[in-house]
Subunit: 201 residues, 2 copies
């Protein structure tokens, strides 16, 4: 019953937007859900086979030749609704950067600053990518009913990335004062009204 829920949700969800081949499904999941979800290649085909066995998706098109598209069935739509309703299993957190910073005394302030700087750059790149996605969605007439929901996920990514940048700036300053302890900074809680982050070209 509760097996492979997660993958099934992603696969059924994607097929609920439009029918497509397994290959296209993989690309769609990588490119479109990529900001907050991932399924590896080796899981998609077994999931499709299982869903087909259960009558939740059906295979259309030539079975002889390679290509065949998968479409969701009414039963599949019902199952998808079930899956979306049941609570998400919490995925255990694993943040390699914070793990390294936590033991930062071993590395020293300068090495830590390098790590944080790199993370800041990544967040900034993410922000640029999300801006591009947002633009695409704005021009997309075809999925008008879906796009408001999609934009919410884009917005979540943007909030998260902006928070990461603001934190990185705070961390860089703190680490600098650790490396060169003239101005006693201590550690005041960050301001509850973060200043807007400066953009880069």
């Amino acid at each position: 019953m509760a097996r492979n829920d997660q993958t099934q949700t992603a696969v059924l969800g994607a097929l609920s937007v439009m029918p497509m081949t397994g290959y296209a499904l993989r690309n769609e999941i990588r490119d479109t859900l990529g900001h907050f979800w991932s399924e590896s290649f080796g899981q998609i085909y077994p999931a499709l086979a299982e869903l087909e066995r259960q009558g939740l998706v059906e295979r259309r098109g030539a079975e002889r030749t390679g290509s065949s598209t998968f479409a969701i069935t009414p039963g599949g739509t019902a199952r998808l609704l079930d899956l979306l309703t049941e609570p998400a299993r919490p995925s255990p957190p694993r943040n390699g950067l914070l793990l390294r910073l936590f033991f930062g005394r071993q590395l020293g302030p300068e090495a830590c600053r390098t790590l944080v700087r790199r993370a800041r750059e990544q967040a900034q790149q993410q922000l640029a990518q999300l801006a591009a996605v947002r633009q695409e969605l704005r021009d997309d007439q075809e999925h008008a009913t879906d796009s408001p929901y999609w934009l919410l996920t884009v917005s979540a990514g943007e909030h998260s990335a902006r928070a990461a940048i603001a934190w990185a700036d705070h961390a860089l300053a703190t680490l600098a004062s650790l490396a060169d302890p003239q101005a006693r900074d201590g550690d005041a809680p960050p301001p509850s009204t973060p200043r807007p982050t400066e953009e880069q070209p």
Copy 2:
């Protein structure tokens, strides 16, 4: 060479702060690293055994009776530095809430609002927890050299939680206008200067 890196890093790191038993290690990892890291019970003891075999930690105290504490060796400290220096392997994103919202058309705006509200509450609880941790660290004289780094991870959690709350407010408003489309909201990108989030008792 590159096997179990992640667990070894967490275990060696924790032991670099102070020697302790495997059992205490588990509690420490759950309670202290819990905001950004997790190791399951079944991994810690095998990791300790392997580290002992490699001479990176040593077992002290009665081997007859149950309890024995593990301490990091000089070799272990060197290995820890190596591990901290090599880049963190990126963990694939898996955000169940965003997956559900992405296919939100199936659920409808009201059900989505419930999901978002729940996420907002969780973020608020996290904020409260982190405030408590911050206070504890402030009163902790014993780990004065470590605590600046530890506070950075607390700060990261706070930034992230505040961003989650701000996003949730945006999402709730957007979803409300979807459910009751009188005021055309469209979707403007969120303000680059988020308003401070209101606190709750």
